[in-house]
Assembly symmetry: C2
Homo-oligomer: 347 residues x 2
Amino acid sequence: VTAMLALFTDDLFHDGHAKTAHGVLRYGTREVAAVIDTRHAGKRADQVVPFCARDVPIVGSVADAAALGASTMLIGVAPSGGKLSPGWRRAVHEAMAAGMDVEAGLHTVLGEDPELAEAAARLGVVLRDLRASPAGLDVPRGPAARAPGVSVVHTVGSDCAIGKMSVVLELDRAARERGRRSVFVATGQTGIAISGWGIAVDHVISDYIAGAAERLVDQGAERGDLLFVEGQGSLLHPAYSGVTLGLLHGSLPDVLVLAHQAGRTAIEGYAEVPLPPLADVVELYEAALRPIRPGRVGAIALNTVLLDEAGARAAIERAQAETGLVADDVVRFGPDRVLDAVLAALP
Amino acid sequence: VTAMLALFTDDLFHDGHAKTAHGVLRYGTREVAAVIDTRHAGKRADQVVPFCARDVPIVGSVADAAALGASTMLIGVAPSGGKLSPGWRRAVHEAMAAGMDVEAGLHTVLGEDPELAEAAARLGVVLRDLRASPAGLDVPRGPAARAPGVSVVHTVGSDCAIGKMSVVLELDRAARERGRRSVFVATGQTGIAISGWGIAVDHVISDYIAGAAERLVDQGAERGDLLFVEGQGSLLHPAYSGVTLGLLHGSLPDVLVLAHQAGRTAIEGYAEVPLPPLADVVELYEAALRPIRPGRVGAIALNTVLLDEAGARAAIERAQAETGLVADDVVRFGPDRVLDAVLAALP
């Protein structure tokens, strides 16, 4: 029997931080029995998240999800800081008591938590930590040792949780449909939940961020020759910029795709950090990459989920005018224009 | 009885990577019985490292250091990647067999290595890991929550292992001599070995780099109002740039001091990464800081150890002409000119 997933989102299924749940619904191949969310219980997933969700029921409790056949609960929110809150801990206990395995991509390692590990052993269920670091990480060999014959495309962002992973998943899928040997390279827990391999670079020892990214490119190069490496954080983000730069310098992309949420004016959670004009963000990323191995922004991936269709079209026009680059919402309007621009920008 | 240190440097005591040994000799207050180094055995420390060493003997074996009264062996090299090599592992076993405690700041956690932990327990000696992360790290509160009434000075570099820590130690000492409530804030294993507190930010989970740096500023603010925060890595370094940016965005310095080794033209170990002109490096750091909380480079700290005195003076003149900033070698010629420039640049 295949595991049936329940996606636990607390009361945040509508929120960008529930990106793990959204990603598994939109891009994953595993069956989903239900979303568990107290705020949205009684609705269907695609009523709440039209662009990201399959038509699965939203229930209000672990017991309801179990009744629908769920055998594994996946924590579907990537909270800032990555901790297991007391309320979520209760949900994990309830799931285990209902006989479910539990998967999570938190910094709090479920399997290393004595109370949870004891309960899992007693109840005969499995705890899986998607964010755990692989053994043997080290510093990178560096730009001179970049895997030959491979092109690397990498998403970067003006902020977090605005769709960098969705963009590379869409581009990868479209490239494969065009017959390219394209590979999605997961760098975070959601991507790993979707693709089944990768490294959560934000959980590795900080000296090894770039080394982990280089290893992912090496592993991707064994699977294909056009790699779409998922981005993390933002160079503008007060908490996560280090991860972003390490990932950039370890993956050494040929072409960047800059993700931006139309209308966002400041870093989420840090209102004191305003977003610079989009053209400045393009220059910030190219300047950060230039000393190590130059690469350029090839297109803008605009997230227009907060706008109606006319507003989205206008925002895309503005982004193009501001940057001189092709811009589009690859989830809403399809990835072809951005993919064309990316492929044209490859060296 | 106080512990007497033996500083183990393998055969690298002359090398910049032996910075932990150099720092403890120059700035530490603990007694040092000997340096253990096979290449330089028979000389005195200040014959090999004139600017950084006390006059202590260099011996060729752990047994010789024990005969001089050493009771704790400190691994005095910070190798790229931070691993315990097989040769060093043998030295750790020899030290334990001679009844010594062992201190290290490697990513390889001695206390978590089953073989070493078993030997230490059997021999009744202690393994101390200076790089271990504190509990309860998280993302930073951010620039709006910056500790009030405190000025932060931070060293950054064009490359690693060129004296960023020495610069802040010299500046801190000089500021205290001028009656300022100045504090050295250690961010790496050597600094922690010297000052007795701090966090090795390159060993924390990468999502928490900036949070760890913010915590260090908070802790420094309890000790004084002029903080000299040790820098790590370089924005130009293919392996460590992520740590550098996270530390920059977490500590949010008012003034940066840019450390550079005169004559260096490429990143050490990555010859394919040339160093840009010094003025461009100044701009790179200010541009990285600008979106989060602006700060500016107040002076250049030039490491002239490879030059004679006339060459050093000329290199300092050149650096000043190139950047329009005060430049000096604070170890060779004293910290006063750089400190004056830093204090004048504080807001």
